[in-house]
């Protein structure tokens, strides 16, 4: 364990003079915190300072200890060692109420809102009775805080009827009402559209002017570089240091996170595409009004578009997850009828959903069982499973895909995002699908795992499979696809064949036309 004094994050910031908030007093100081759980040293040593009026990004691979660190600050976990100081005073927070009293508000990916209550009721929930206001007063103050944030939300609208972005803003408004001095956000942009992300950072910039310290976790390096003042990097349960952002290049940041230099962000291998494996003609249903395209053997077909353009609906129709209203699907030239995912899987189509936790994995089952679910027929006779062969097959993939599991019986919920995704890839590799559809293959997974995922996609294409890849990250679409389709309002509005020469602006233009 390094002595706390040698930890770079506790040293005076060498580049601080160049940042806006250089002289501002600290709102949060974490010194030498360590935290272990049974069997896991989640944080070895972490130190971190957030100043008043700064936007501070916390980055690192999954499992680096970012979430645990945040939970130590908000009192959800008690540190084994080290101290947490807020506004210059050591504090011991034991629950979210304490945290609010101490001026800390945390917004997690799952919001702490009650869906069946209105925005106003949620804003004033949990206040002591003596602070209770009458409804009119509450409504007035709700309007006031929404106005201050520059957002148009009806205080009486039920939270469950609000879009995700607005729900998040209700949480921010609640933090403002509680007079929070430190706002902590865990991957605030993961579920937002690009426009909503801009709105959110506009509001955060406004909060920064009000001297509020903001600490956010993000996997999207673009937004870290665009919006954060400083960044703290965590790796393997330790903070490596804090850097003012203008001084750091993207490559340097990635290297710090991964711990080794990366050759390129996208290891694309371009190969000659073969015959059409998947042909879709006039498919419609859900948001999809009409879609006609073909995906060829050995190619990665990217599908770009805004959230809500119908990309996910399209692949769900192909996979049989939803019933199409019309259209035909051909596999290797043969028309096929697909009424359910079961049909699709038998015919060699597989889908890696964007929402791994809810639509990909059965989290309570073991990694092995999740891997085996659609493939049980490979190791069973009249329904009787040969468990030894099943386990051997799984261990083969654990090794070849470098899946980090404690063992085949580890519950899927305990795997990191990247390893969960690899587990699903292993599942569909074993099922030997001809068409592999990825919906946001790298959402929520860290830089190192992203790279490995790209290598896997290359590998699948090299085996002659047709890959369809939906992604909201334009660099990823352009970096990994051989051909790109752009969707807008349920239709395919454009195709880019010269991907290497295309720009993000070109794609965006097609996506909003």
């Amino acid at each position: 364990m390094p002595a706390p004094g040698k930890d770079p994050a506790t040293l005076p910031d060498p580049g601080g003079a160049g940042t806006r908030a250089a002289e501002a007093p600290l709102v949060l100081r974490v010194t030498g915190v360590a935290k272990a759980f049974p069997g896991v040293q989640a944080i070895r040593t972490a130190s971190l300072e957030v100043r008043r009026g700064e936007i501070h990004a916390l980055v690192g691979e999954n499992g680096a200890g970012k979430s645990t660190l945040i939970k130590v600050v908000t009192g959800a976990h008690r540190p084994d060692r080290g101290t947490v100081e807020l506004n210059g005073r050591p504090v011991r927070i034991s629950d979210p109420r304490d945290a609010l009293h101490a001026g800390v508000a945390a917004i997690y990916q799952e919001f702490d809102l009650i869906p069946a209550l209105s925005a106003r009721e949620n804003l004033f929930l949990g206040r002591e009775p003596r602070h209770r206001l009458d409804v009119r007063e509450e409504r007035r103050r709700a309007r006031e805080v929404f106005d201050r944030l520059g957002i148009a939300i009806d205080p009486e609208a039920l939270v469950r009827d609000l879009p995700v972005a607005h729900q998040q803003l209700v949480e921010i408004a609640r933090a403002l009402l509680a007079d929070a001095r430190l706002l902590i956000m865990d991957e605030p942009t993961a579920a937002l559209t690009p426009r909503e992300v801009e709105t959110l950072f506009g509001i955060l910039a406004d909060l920064r002017r009000r001297e509020i310290g903001i600490l956010f976790i993000s996997h999207r390096l673009d937004e870290v570089f665009h919006h954060a003042d400083r960044v703290t990097v965590m790796r393997d349960g330790a903070t490596l240091g804090t850097w003012p952002l203008p001084e750091l290049t993207r490559e340097a940041l990635i290297e710090k996170m991964v711990g080794r230099p990366l050759e390129a962000e996208f290891p694309k291998v371009r190969a000659a595409a073969g015959v059409a494996r998947l042909t879709v003609r006039g498919l419609r249903g859900g948001r999809v009004r009409e879609a006609t395209f073909a995906a060829r053997a050995g190619e990665v077909l990217g599908i770009a578009g805004l959230v809500g353009a119908g990309r996910t609906d399209l692949v769900r129709l192909i996979f049989g997850a939803d019933r199409p209203e019309g259209g035909t699907v051909l596999l290797d030239g043969q028309p096929v009828t697909i009424r359910s995912p079961w049909d699709a899987i038998r015919r060699g189509i597989c889908l890696l959903t964007e929402d791994r936790a809810n639509q990909g994995l059965v989290l309570g089952l073991s990694a092995r069982e999740n891997f085996a679910l659609p493939n049980l027929g490979h190791w069973s006779r009249v329904g009787w499973i040969a468990e030894g062969r099943e386990r051997a097959a799984f261990l083969h993939y654990v090794e070849s895909l470098n899946i980090r599991v404690a063992g085949p019986e580890q519950a899927a919920r305990h795997l990191s995002g990247g390893n969960q995704q690899k587990l699903l890839v292993a599942r569909w590799l074993e099922s030997d699908s001809r068409v592999v559809i990825f919906d946001e293959p790298t959402r929520g997974i860290d830089v190192g795992a992203k790279y490995e995922m790209y290598l896997l996609i290359n590998d699948l294409a090299a085996r002659g499979k047709a890959i369809v890849m939906i992604s909201s990250e334009l660099p990823e679409i352009l970096g990994m696809s051989d051909r790109v389709l752009v969707m807008h309002q349920g239709r395919i509005t454009g195709e880019i064949t010269d991907v290497a020469g295309a720009t993000q602006e070109q794609v965006l233009e097609l996506a909003v036309r």
Binding site: P38, N358, Q359, V362, L373, P374, L376
Partner: protein
Amino acid sequence: MNAFSRFLSQYGMLFVLLLLCVFFSLATLREQHPAGAGAARALERQIVAAAAPDGAHAGAAVLIAARAGEADLRFARELARRLAARGRPAAAVVTGDPAALREALESFAGAGRDLLVATLETDAPIVRGVLASFPALTATPILTPPAHRWPTFLLADNLRNVANQIAVIAILAIGMTMVIVTGGIDLSVGSLIALAAVVTAGLIGHLGGEAATAGGMLLAGAAAIGICALIGSFSGLMITRFAVPPFIATLGMMQVTSGIAYILSQGKPIYRVPDGLVTLGRGTEPLLGLPYAVLMMAGLYLVAHLLMSRTTLGRYVYAVGGNAEAARLAGVRVRAVQMFVYVTCAALAGLGGVVMASQLKSGAPTYGLMYELYVIAAVVVGGTSLSGGEGRILGTLIGAFIIAVIQNGMNLTNVESYTQKVVLGLVILGAVLLDRMKHRGLGRRRAAH
């Protein structure tokens, strides 16, 4: 903490069951007076020794006195057989009430011959009372089998009783475990018991009544199970096709089924069945004396355990309960799996109804009342989570036995029935608490990642 919670979750309930057995064994430790064939064995030696030429009552005539109950008859017959085999046949065997004994003794009172009465400890005071009314016989010795200290709870008869009484609930709990693992619930099982019992008894009535053949009875039972499976498929259809919540769908079917049972039986018990019907419910196999119902229960548990742990279908059941949408997108035919569990659950409830009709030698629409709650309790006490996705068949067996042992133990220790309800309720709450603790442990580990 980790190892401890794992131990609790895997073996906790077995441990609780053993503890309960030890507790009730100690609480019911008392003087035991043998009965039945065992008593005859013990008494044979005493009588032969006493009536031997050099014994205390050399040459005395032996009179065996017993009541007319099943165990008493077994005692009397076995003792008579054994004495005859030893060349000292009993002079008389009296089975029945004190009047019959008095009648038999009258002939001995006049004969002036030495007499020895062999009887059970429980009947000795009555025999003594009757002897007192014959002046010539007041000194007649009464021999009873020797007593020994042993827990009433652990008597073979009692253990057999525990197993036999829980058999119906335990059989139903198999299907209920599968349903609950998929994240559902089936409230109609109690009514299905009644319907199956009524259909069984009613059909036997049509197939010859008291004169029905074994084949007829089998046919009636199979038909009852088939009808229950059909009703289960209807519940399954409501749940899978029309997305009616299982609680509501089976609540409705619970009323419908119960109503049908009342209509079919016109609200009255059906007794027109042959004696042979009780073989399944009360009969025991000759080797170890295990009741057939218990053997069947054990067999079903073995099959269900293998099904749930070693087959693709079992794996799908867990997957559907863990996350139905993820399972569907992994190619599991979720509706077929749900259909399977509801049909299986209903068919097993039907089998439970047949067993109950056999145990009670009749069919009535009042059977199985509130059984769904006992069955669910057994499943929950056995460690299956009501939120679905986890649970073990053998855990349910343990859960059923915990309930049976507590009920039986409280009966033996004379706890009144009102108090029994309170205790059983607390046991169920305790089991759920244990389940929550287990989950909190999981939550803590999840937070580490």
